[in-house]
Amino acid sequence: MEQFTQGLLQEETASVRTVRGATVISPRGLVLGTIADVRVSPKTLTFEGILVRRAWYGRTYYVGRDYIDKVSPDSVVLSVEPVLFLVGKKAVTTEGEVVGTVKSVVRQGNTNTLKQLIVRKLFRRSKQIPSAMIKNVGIEAIILKKEYHA
């Protein structure tokens, strides 16, 4: 094949067709979804990000290239744990009391920086937990600091 390039050769690049459908995983190995689409800047023609579909029926969300660590034809590894995936985890005090389940997260703009969690327990009102009150994020539970009073 003839090639006309001053940059990478064709064999050093990945086809969008093969990358689509690749698994997206977080640094801790959480499977976040699959690539639904690859987004390119129309001005600079550079790779800008990916659209990730959570499940075959799920909504898609956009991840900018700043949050992407590695790309291969089979998978993409992110460099951050998306705060979006805190939804569904339980917020637990240092006493082990479950404050509620995370229903949504409030971020700073479109970044991955968490501002607060909105948690809710059955038959109770929602509570807002500032990110400063989070001690540790685990697989199922978010452990809150001692200073947090439910």
Partner: protein, 160 residues
């Protein structure tokens, strides 16, 4: 003067409590206490994972703290790694953890048995190839390099 007995815990304070491990996973509830009959000391607790699930027990030295609503462990039990997916260093899927072999009576992993997505074969992966265990298992080796090692492992399994 306050009675020191008032600060002691009873079985009511422990049995039925949630158990949360070091990785923030809810393991189950405490359903038994184990007591050494000679030393009259609590040596461990049994964790009930729920209906139709096999529970397990942990030693008292793995308990970090007992709080009002839950018991926090210092460790993440190796058994929880079962059924986790295994990825290589580039994020390519290798397979699923079929079993975890630990050192006798310890939580230290000796090897993990991975059912490879390559024709359903089985891999024995030692801890030196494990980068981290989080939501799933991430190895520090590429799939292509593991395949070379795998051929040796598979051959040695056959010979056994």
């Amino acid at each position: 003067m306050p009675d020191p007995v008032d600060s002691f815990l009873t079985t009511d304070d422990i049995l039925g409590k949630d158990v949360i491990d070091a990785s923030g996973s809810f393991l189950g509830v405490v359903d038994k206490l184990f007591v050494d009959p000679d030393l009259i000391q609590i040596t461990g607790i049994s964790i009930d994972k729920g209906f139709l699930k096999n529970g397990f027990h942990v030693g008292v030295d793995t308990i970090k703290e007992i709080r009002d609503h839950a018991i926090f462990l210092k460790i993440t039990p190796a058994a929880t790694i079962r059924r986790m997916r295994v990825f290589d260093i580039d994020g390519k899927i290798i397979g699923t953890v079929k079993n975890v072999i630990t050192l006798p009576n310890r939580n230290t992993i000796k090897e993990i048995i991975v059912k490879s997505h390559l024709f359903g074969k089985v891999l024995h992966v030692t801890p030196d190839f494990i980068k981290l265990v989080g939501d799933n298992v991430l190895l520090n080796i590429k799939k292509a390099d593991l395949k070379g090692r795998f051929q040796e492992m598979f051959r040695s399994d056959k010979e056994e």
